[in-house]
Symmetry: none
Subunit: 201 residues, 4 copies
DNA sequence: GATGAATGAGTGTTCATTCAT
DNA sequence: AATGAATGAACACTCATTCAT
């Protein structure tokens, strides 16, 4: 026994991820997690104060990866491609951990309020980043008029749904992933309705 | 005692809605609901076989209102306005019951599988309606190219998030609501990025 | 409504018998009984003060039939045949209501003590009758030596088991029933071991 | 805390036996058992998955002791004494645990079907052993003619009743016990009716 | 007499958390 | 550091009984 402390923590985290994946948060019992990690129950509480906090640790991980995934757009470069790259990165960050993504985005309310708060916090960070980017974009003229808050919420929501949808299916191929990136980009860039470009009947 | 059976059912439904709103699904105990409704526990089980089913009844209500909210677009009329009207209706259907909306769209996975199924079923119905409309639109030339499945998921996801966001805030004024309708319409119609309409640097 | 009071009581009794047959005492709910009798729950309590008492009423019925079934042996007649007739009658009284017999003899302990008492009381009555008969028989020289109490308990117990066994099976034919009568008579009359009638090895 | 696991199990078993004795199966609450054992409710479920299974464990114990109590009759020895010894052993096995015996033989129907099954299973084992022995005996000429099935059921039933009767009373003295053994043996060997050995009047 | 909606005390079971070893 | 036996508060659900109509 007595392996490295960090190592043990990582093992528990990994076990929790698996169990959450299989059973969802509520149905995942601490017993399941320690069984998966092959440690005793006491050990669990040596590393995490309670069940929620191991989920939070997992969530924080995801949040961090997300923040790193988004790059500031540099007007000096190919803007469209940078935007595409950001879409691609965000998609990738989530798809790297479908389980966590699913749980994460699926629980938003109706749970322990503290827990919900955690999920919200991460979302708000993302939202804030996107909103600021949109505001910048408006100043630079690469984003059209509109309430940046609404635009950000809508965009993130759309991507979330796409993600959730994708996570439910078998792992996406490279092409499928790229198609999604392209579609999202197109929606953001031109929308898809062509109403007023048609002669009124 | 012995008031009208339908009335009592409605009271329980209303009580449940309130309690779910205050505490979320898991934290809402049957005891809370019956206390809110001022009936005994036995009475609850006279009207609903278990806790889940009272939630499902609430969900079904919402689903029904949603389906009624969406109208088929008639090309002979003002298409843009009809689309706006659909956006407006869907928004309205949800905003009429912020609590339920929140709970409903917040739970998607990680809960009792049977329960999740319910929520999914409603979403899929909505999605199917939208996807079909988009496909029709493409044939009629009022919807641009793109995978209708992806477009539908993205659009619904965007609206969901907007909704969830709105539900968290104080009740929306008429103007705020209309602004959201307009913004969504604009995104769908033109997107918001203006990248390739700018001269490349 | 408002049919004859005795009639209603009988209907409830019949319904209870059926339900007890199908489900056993504990699993038979008052709701089941009133459903079977097509009356309301309130009506049940109009005729019986509680669930146990309807069972007791059924039990009393059985006890009465039993007592009537046993005839005093008249030494002036064919004694063997009279004993056989008594065996036959007791067997018949029980087999007339296999359900009640089963429940009745199956519950003896482990239930509400009051309830058990009822069952015991009936058994004791039977036992007392038999014991007295055996005592008489000993005086008359038609019953061999032995503790009449033990003989009575053993004999009744044996018949009870035979009965219970028979009740579990399909209804007995006339011949099967007669065979049991004959076997029991033979056991009581001669036993079945032939040990000391064999030359010791 | 944290005493030996087997020890704790035994304590719970003992506590359950007492409580079942005092209150019967249905009236014995898990709360009663854990109070008797001075452990928490959680501990109970650590050792037994549910209430029924602790009863089954008790029943299995009894069944095992019974099977060990019955010895195959060896014709080369004193057959009568061997039969007496078997009667004595079976009696002893039950009387060693009057409580359990009472509950065990008193419940036969009307309870949870699964539960009943357990009790029946044990009885059937006993019956099968006895029936086979009788069949052997008939071939060897030490058991008279008659349906071995009926003989077995009757014999076991008689003993059961004697047992139940004895269990209700104060603990039997050695002499009382031996008297029962002798009486049962005599019944089986010669019966107790002396009808046709008397001149008809 | 009859009804059936309402009651609420009661019960088996779960599981996150603790702590003596 | 690690264990795992022990805890006990919590909860969904049941059902015999009551009583206003």
């Amino acid at each position: 026994m007595a392996i490295d402390k960090t190592q043990r923590r990582l093992e528990l985290l990994a076990a929790a991820r698996n169990v959450f994946a299989r059973k969802g948060y509520h149905d995942a019992k601490v017993d399941d997690i320690v069984a998966e990690a092959s440690v005793s129950k006491g050990t669990f509480y040596l590393y995490f104060p309670d069940k929620r906090s191991i989920f939070e640790a997992l969530a924080d991980e995801l949040a961090q990866q997300l923040q790193q995934a988004i790059l500031r757009v540099d007007l000096a470069g190919n803007v469209a491609e940078q935007v595409r790259q950001n879409i691609r990165s965000v998609l990738g960050a989530f798809l790297a951990d479908p389980t966590l993504t699913t749980i994460f985005f699926s629980y938003a309310a109706g749970l322990d309020p503290d827990f919900v708060q955690k999920v919200r916090a991460v979302e708000h960070t993302l939202l804030a980043i996107l909103e600021e980017a949109l505001r910048d974009g408006q100043n630079l003229g690469i984003v059209g008029q509109g309430d940046p808050g609404i635009l950000a919420v809508f965009t993130l929501g759309g991507m979330k749904s796409l993600l959730l949808d994708a996570c439910q299916k078998a792992p996406l191929s490279q092409e499928e992933r790229e198609r999604i990136v392209e579609e999202v980009f197109r929606i953001l860039d031109h929308g898809y309705l062509r109403i007023d470009r048609q002669p009124a009947p």
